[in-house]
Amino acid sequence: MADFTPNETLDCRGLSCPMPILKTKKTISAMKSGQILEILGTDPGTKNDLPAFAKRGGHEYLGEKQDEGFSRFYIKVK
């Protein structure tokens, strides 16, 4: 996956369903079109939930990166 420079980073480490999705939704609503949001997460459910959320909202899911003990997810705001 290519490297992205996120405009904003949302730290959801330690949070479980449904908090990461809701916080993502809230953060995205305050962002501009074309900006990139980075989400840090530790809940295995997020791996499925974020792409589905992005698809439903019309945003572009850019992918995920594995870091030490957590994942980084990238979404491009519609």
Binding site: L10, D11, C12, R13, G14, L15, S16, C17, P18, M19, I21, L22, K23, K25, K26, S29, T42, D43, P44, G45, K47, N48, A52, F53, R56, E68, G69, F70
Partner: protein, 399 residues
């Protein structure tokens, strides 16, 4: 030479098969179908699938140990209630290891509090409804009990209220980020993640040995039930089939994937257990809770609210605890002790018991044919309405 190549082709095949089963999540509808089939197998073998009975058994046992209760419950190592939940916990633990998803996941303090409070509310709700989302709703509707429908309505209302609360919390409670509370997923020196699949394999092997040993002690029924629990744990962990989502998603994201999976799953259970009951192989009143309608409806509302803030229902809290989530472990502990206390209080009071309602086995009133048709119709209605809502977002609650 060619033998080498054949072997490596075989290894490749096995590796890909393993990847498909344990590294990629299964579709949720498949989870619903498999869970339905496994529930029927469990009922045919001994008894319906349930969770709260096991949690209550642990709570009773805890209060006996600390001296609050004078009477000892059936040992958690013999009680079928307890064994089936131990199996669920063990199965999801093994499954999380096999998919390299096991990690002790710490949560921020406020989340831990929500886990505990959610557990307490679920304990109260389950005691009133005669079961959690499994025994009071899933297996109860499967058992052709009308209180399952009362609880379903309660769960929908409770999930809606729970979501309203979570939205309010997002605006007003500054939990902030969870920074700092990173998981202790993999040890630094030794790479735990790489050995997790082997540990998972050992855990599964241990479950089979356990059943073997139980069979040798003439406890075949109990041992195999635990193994049924393990199978259910693997199915639910791999598909992440979550009953909270079945009620919350239509309001939160509008998605209807999980509501559809749960509706299909229960239809399978209805058909299977109707066959077992009609033929007289199983008692008609099995898993018909005394909770129509007050206990089911009001218990469902309290339970539904609790499961949304805990982020896991009866089964969901247990399998996520098996995955290493501290918040859900707390939910299970508080759920167990609350359900033990509240059920005891209800049992002790004639007035409270009567308030919860009656045991209504639908075929006694409208016959098997119409009981099956009307229950399936209600589930299909849920299927259709949630799918319609997926397109129109009519029921979605904005933040």
């Amino acid at each position: 030479m060619s033998q080498d190549r054949e072997e490596s082709a075989m290894m490749n095949l096995l590796r890909r098969g393993y990847g498909a089963i344990f590294y990629e999540n299964w579709p949720i509808w498949l989870g619903g179908v498999l869970l339905g089939i496994m529930s029927v197998i469990t009922f045919a073998w001994a008894r319906p699938w349930g969770v709260v009975g096991g949690l209550r058994n642990w709570g009773d046992w805890f209060f006996k140990v600390i001296g609050l209760y004078s009477q000892a419950p059936v040992s958690p190592l013999i009680s079928t209630n307890s064994l089936i939940v131990l199996g669920l916990l063990w199965g999801s633990f093994a499954s999380a290891l096999l998919s390299k998803q096991f990690a002790i996941r710490m949560a921020p303090p406020f989340e831990l509090l929500k886990g505990a409070v959610g557990g307490i509310l679920m304990g109260i709700g389950a005691a009133m409804a005669g079961g959690c989302n499994v025994g009071g709703f899933y297996s109860a509707i499967g058992a052709l009990s009308l209180s399952g429908i009362a609880m379903m309505i309660g769960l929908i209302m409770g999930a809606y209220l729970g979501l309203r609360y979570v939205y309010w919390e997002l605006e007003h409670v500054a939990t902030g980020s969870a920074g700092g509370s990173v998981t202790s997923a993999s040890g630094k020196g030794l790479n735990l993640l790489a050995v997790e699949p082997y540990l998972g394999f050992l855990a599964l092997l241990a479950a089979i040995v356990f059943t073997w040993v139980y069979a040798d002690m003439a406890l075949t029924r109990e041992g195999v039930l635990a193994l049924c629990g393990v199978a259910i744990g693997i199915i639910i962990q791999r598909t992440r089939l979550c009953f909270v989502r079945a009620f919350r998603d239509p309001f939160m994201t509008g998605e209807a994937e999980v509501p559809r999976a749960v509706a299909i799953s229960i239809i399978i259970v209805i058909l299977g257990s109707a066959a077992l009951k009609w033929t007289g192989l199983r008692g008609e009143m099995v898993y018909v809770p005394q909770a129509f309608w007050f206990g089911g409806l009001v218990g469902g509302i309290i339970f539904g609210f609790g499961m949304v803030i805990a982020g896991g229902c009866g089964s969901g809290s247990v399998w996520r605890a098996g995955e290493g989530q501290i918040k859900l472990m707390l939910a299970v502990v508080f759920f167990s002790i609350t359900v033990s206390l509240v059920e005891r209080a209800i049992d002790a009071s004639k007035a409270l018991t009567a308030l919860m309602g009656n045991r209504v086995f639908l075929p006694h009133f409208i016959g098997y044919r119409w009981a099956i048709i009307s229950l399936i119709a209600i589930l299909l209605l849920y299927y259709v309405i949630t799918t319609w809502n997926e397109k129109t977002e009519k029921f979605m609650v904005e933040m």
